[in-house]
Every structure is written in structure tokens, then in C-alpha cells.
Symmetry: C2
Subunit: 433 residues, 2 copies
Amino acid sequence: MTAKSVYPDKSVCLIKEIGDGVIPCAIPYMIHTLSDPKQNAVGNMPLENAGIDVKVGKVVSLDVKTHTVTLESGEVFSYERLVLATGTDTIMPPIPGVDKEGVFTIRKSMSAMTALREIVHKSKRVAIIGGGFIGAEFADELSKASDVEVHLIEIMPKLLYNAFDDEFCDEIAQVLYKLGIKIHTSHSVLSIDGNNSAESVTLDDGKKIPVDMVLVSIGAKPAGKIAEDAGLRIVENGSIWVDEYMRTSTENIFAVGDCAVKRDFFTRKAAPVWLASTATAEARNAGTNIFGIRVLHQIQGTIAAFSTQIGGVSFASAGMTCRTCEKEGFRIVTATAVAPDRHPGMLPGARELKVKLVFADRSGILLGGQVSGGPSVGELINMIALAIQKKVTVRELDMMQIATHPLLTSAPTVHPMIGAAHQALAMMRASVK
Amino acid sequence: MTAKSVYPDKSVCLIKEIGDGVIPCAIPYMIHTLSDPKQNAVGNMPLENAGIDVKVGKVVSLDVKTHTVTLESGEVFSYERLVLATGTDTIMPPIPGVDKEGVFTIRKSMSAMTALREIVHKSKRVAIIGGGFIGAEFADELSKASDVEVHLIEIMPKLLYNAFDDEFCDEIAQVLYKLGIKIHTSHSVLSIDGNNSAESVTLDDGKKIPVDMVLVSIGAKPAGKIAEDAGLRIVENGSIWVDEYMRTSTENIFAVGDCAVKRDFFTRKAAPVWLASTATAEARNAGTNIFGIRVLHQIQGTIAAFSTQIGGVSFASAGMTCRTCEKEGFRIVTATAVAPDRHPGMLPGARELKVKLVFADRSGILLGGQVSGGPSVGELINMIALAIQKKVTVRELDMMQIATHPLLTSAPTVHPMIGAAHQALAMMRASVK
């Protein structure tokens, strides 16, 4: 869309493998929340209206010398510029029985997901392997049926361990627990058992959980095979190497989204963070720069900005957590503030809003933030995300002007983002006495 | 609170005129939304817990030579540093009959507002003079009683004319119209008529509106009298002159909040914008700098960040509107994007979210933003407010990484803040062909 808009005289062709696509992030909500899963369909209309040719087909090879790609059908397309946006492949763990009937994973097609919906609606006992965002969101969604038993199995000590610090992970687990989800953290699955189809899963402590179906959501890896076969440089996690402007190691070929290497905003190390919002920002970058660099150093690494809603409580994170700071050797000051998200807090609909901020201890630069509360969390984390991207300091946040309203936000005197900054400043003062 | 926290060895005394204070921004919601107006009380607990002495009394004079203030009671307090935070006085227009019984205005005390509530509950026909934020919010709130006729009278061509561009003003008027409010824009009040108490108001076109009560909300002016009498420099709107660190023209005396001069962020002209969020930021600035400058140039002028909710629709504005840009000679590019605030838009509870952004046409620096939609508007405007304060450019917004989630935000491909930036960029490209 961006390339066509910036270079309207060029013809743009989008080749995609899945003809009946869906909005990926909303897949969990195709089970119950959406009355009809078709409501989550993604059509070609916006592309076609923009003058983009859409071709459904599977690309099987790329020839960088002849500047062509070949489809499974035998069709050959030539290009002046090529953009690889092949996304990720789902990781299936090497668990005995993982190939049995009744073991599912997330596929980004309407047909696969409507089939999954039907099976889920018939299942009374579900095991979900993997307690990241997808696993937690699916557990929440499945619990909306009154008579289903859901087991959420996570190998790490906490759910959503890579996105949040302990107290937020615990809050999420508590919400799921109240929904009746059985949570098995620090546990792996030894085997999926049954004759033809999955009848139980066995945990590493020997516990056997009877199931009607199993959903695997342990993660994904960049889909770089076409690029690798064509000789493009492949780096960490099997992702395609790109420079700051999404250019691969091979002239005239770009890569964007989950297949392109992600670097961390603060360390520039490869970061296994695959997000639609990062992908679309990269797409706008590549689209603008595709016939010459016109946007300089705009994608300086991913800040890993996540948000979710579990059991009606919103959770979000952006930038570094205390856990990642510890791991990466960042010396920090951190503070948490809590306030009602309306003022006074007695107003109908008021929710508790919690903001935790992480700052570099000397420069006071904001490294990360985590939030929980009502629906305002969704855009509040984006203010924090912008602050991280602009390297805003604790002092700037303390002096920040915001809009407040009784029915929409915390009081200006206690807005927890400013409150957390204000507290952190006091701690920094105390430490340099 | 800040001064006490930064200088814990100093004693801090707060002298306030009103003993039974309320949260000012929530005053409209004391009529119906809050089941008990007492829920909007502001107590002294947080101040006293922080070790601050609270004194209720009216200061009648300030002697800058002897470093003392005198109360109506005759009590005298001496100071090392003095902070004036006297706020605003309500403006009463010179309309014949404005002093009749049944004509009210907003007072920031529990006793006055519970009295007003009782009178409102008995009134069937109410005229509100002044269609700014307070007038519009009161009209919305009053309409929650089924059998009341509310007239909203505004001298400017649109409601909330100083905060929004026409299309947002019109949307607000439409919402109020649907609630049954009678709107009289471009009209002034010639007289308030009746024997002892207000029985009707007469508009400038001769129309007579029968009323049981009148609420005046045409605005406020800085309460600078004590400062003026003491010889401090007074500037535009009767406000107290302050430097970047909230220091007045007289040594050791600071002024913060509505009584201190507000300068516009972009022009540095005096700006008649009195907001709790600006006031609290200034308070933190003065509190930190009161015994020596420790925070540099942090309050660089007000960006006028407003939010409100009218008839369940949220509206917000920050920075310059097209109207103010036109008036001040700013050459701009502006774009508006609309998308559902969930994705897919068929998800339950989805609302239309509209974002208008205003950029300087060459530098691409963000000058302002206006938003309407669901409750996410409350924090979305704060992301825009931060972007304005950090002088973020249209290119940075176009490349911005955000968190998105189906139940919390627009899709990453169509988030209207990024969408508006993306459109504005395309217009800038087109104009430099």
C-alpha cells in the first residue's frame, strides 16, 4: 500500500499463500466472542482499491540472478524490487504424540479456524501447551463456555514470562484462575497419549490430564526458507538479515515483518519479538525506501509493545522489564503507581489502573513500562511506547502535560504514569544524597 | 507535596479558603452520575500524611517586605518561600438580572454544590449561559433527568469553539441535540427577567426562554488580586507574571496554576487556558525548584490538552487546531483518519475512532490533534500530547511502533493516529512534486 502510494507509476503485485485470510490477532475471539467467525475475514478490497494486483499462490523459489519468483503452479513473476513478508511458521514441539488427531495449532486461514471453532465447541476438556499471549488469550476465550475444563501448561515459572515482570504475570494467572483455568507453570509435556487421537497429556511430573483436544501455542519461528534457498543472508532464529531500511543482503530485495531479523531497541541484539505493529511500521519503512532511501533510521529496533485483555482485565508492556534489565546488565530505578482510572474513584465504571516504569538509574531515560487496568490501558501503553522511542527521561514525564477528565482518566494529581515517574525521581534523589 | 518530598526538612503550610473542597473537574457529575455528591469530596488526608500543615482561612494581604501573609482572622504567617496558587474567579457577565435569585455559577465547595444539586433536581427548565466545556458537560448531565428542558446558549458560532475545529464542534452539538438539549449558538443573553428570581432569559434576537434556573459558565479569570495589591507584576488576563520556573517578579514568591500566566507552547503568547493538568505540572516544577533551580525549562508553555465525554462520546484536543493555526499564521498540512477502535470492527463494543492531526507543512512537526470516539480517547490524546511536547514529526509518527490488541485498539494497519500521519505525509509529498 505504501509503495503504491509513494510510487504510483510502479505496478505492485502481492502474492499470498492463503486466499481466505483472517485478522491474526483476533483469532482467539473467533471461538466465542464473535458471533460469526466470518466477521474476522480479511478481504482484498483495500489492496485492489489501491491498484494493487493480488495473486493467491505459493511461492516455491526465488532466483536472485533472473529477478524472478516461481509459484507452485509454475507461474513465474519477475520483479524490479522484491519484498519478502513471509511471516513465521508455527513451532511444533518434538513431543511424542504431537502428530495425533485432535492436536491443533493456529493457522491464519478462515477454513482452518472455522474447523477449529467447531471442534472446540464440541470439546469439554482442552489442554493448551504454551502460556504466552496466544495460550492465555485462548484459555480466557475457551472459559466463556460454561462446561469446559481448560488446562494451560507453561514450561517457564510464570505465564507470559517474557513480556511481564512477576507481579503482572501473577495478576494474569490470578485472573485466569478465577475463570476456572487449571494452570500448570514450570511444567513440560512428556507425551500426548491416545490411540489415534489425543486422549490425555502427560506432564513431566507424571500427572495425566484427560483431554478431548490439545492446542499447541509454544511460539513461532521466522519463515526464511525461500530466502535461505536463494542465498540471502540468514541470521538469528532463522530470520532474514536486513539493514535499517529493511534491505536484505541481496540487492533489490527487502524483507519486512516476522521473517526479517528483529533487533532490540536498547541492545541491538536479535530479539525474538514478532508483532503486527512492528511489522506494519517496517512495511511503511520499506514501502517508502524501496526506490531510494527517503526515511532515515526510523526503525531503530523493536520496543516489544504488547497489549492484551484477559478475563476483562487489560495488560500491556513496552520496552524492557526488570527481568530483561537484570539479564542484560542495565542498572535501573523502578517505581509503580496505582490510581482509579476515573476521578473521583466512586464514578461508575472506575477501575484500578497500575503503571510500573523502569528507568536507567543515572540518565533517567525510560527503558520500559507495564500497565494493568481497564480498557484505557490499550492507548496508555502507546504513550509509554512513544516515550520509549523518543528516549524521554523521568524528569520530562514528571513535568508532562496531559489531558484528564473524570469519566476518562485518573486525576491529574495521581495519574499513575506521572505518579510512577515522580516516585522514581524521589528514589533517584535519595540514592545520590 | 513535591516541596515537602524534595525538602523534607522544611515545614510546609497550605492555606486554603474552602474547607469543604471538591474535585473541580467532576462537579458536573455531582448532579446525577454520582449517587451521593459527597463521593466527590477532597479531604486533607494525603497532605497531612505527607507532613503538611493545612490551614483553612482567607488570606487578605501579602507583605513582601516582612515576608508575611495575613488572614481575615487576623492571623499572620511568615514565609521563607511563598507559592501563590489562588486559581481563578468565575466571570459573571454584565447582564441585567444576573444577580437575581435562581442564577447560579460553579463554586468549588461541597456546601455550594450540594445546594445547587437540590435546586437542579427541582428545576424543569434550565438555561445554561456559555457553551464551553463546563456548559456542555452540565447540559449532558442535566439531560439524564427525563423531564427537564435544557437550553445551552453560546455567543460564538459553535460550542467549544476555542478547543476544537468545526467538524468536532458539530459532532458535539449533534450529540447534545440527540439528548434533547436546545442549542442556541451565535446568541447572547440580553437580560435575565423575573421579579425576585429568574423566570426567563431574553436572547439577542428577542426570543424569551422561560426558566426555573440559570447556570452561568462563560469562563473564569486568574485570581491575582492579592498579588497585585502586594506589587507583583500582573500581565495578560490579570494573571501573575512568572518565569520558566514559576518565579514571580518578587524574590522568593512563586505562582502556579490558573493564577500564573499561561503561555502558548508554540507562540509563547499569553494563552487563556486553565487546566488542572497544567497546574499540577507547574506545581511539581515549583515544588522541585523552590530552593534552587533543579529542573530546567520543563514547562515550555501550555499545549492546552483537553478531554471530555458528552452523551457517552469522548472528545479530546491537544495543541493547535486549524482555527488557531489560521489565526496565528501557521502554514499547515492536516489529515483525518477514522477506524473502529477494535479489530475486527464487528467485535462487541467497537466504536468509531476519529483522529485529526495538524502538522507544520515544511518541518512536519506535530502542532495539534483532535480525537473523538470511545473511552480510549482519554489516553490516546495523551500520546498526542506527549508527541507535541517532544516535537515529534509526521515521519516519526508514520514509523511509530505501538501495541495493538483486538479488544483494545484499532488494527495496526489502520490505527487512526498513524493513519492520519501517513495521509499527511502523502499530501506533503504531493505538494513538493
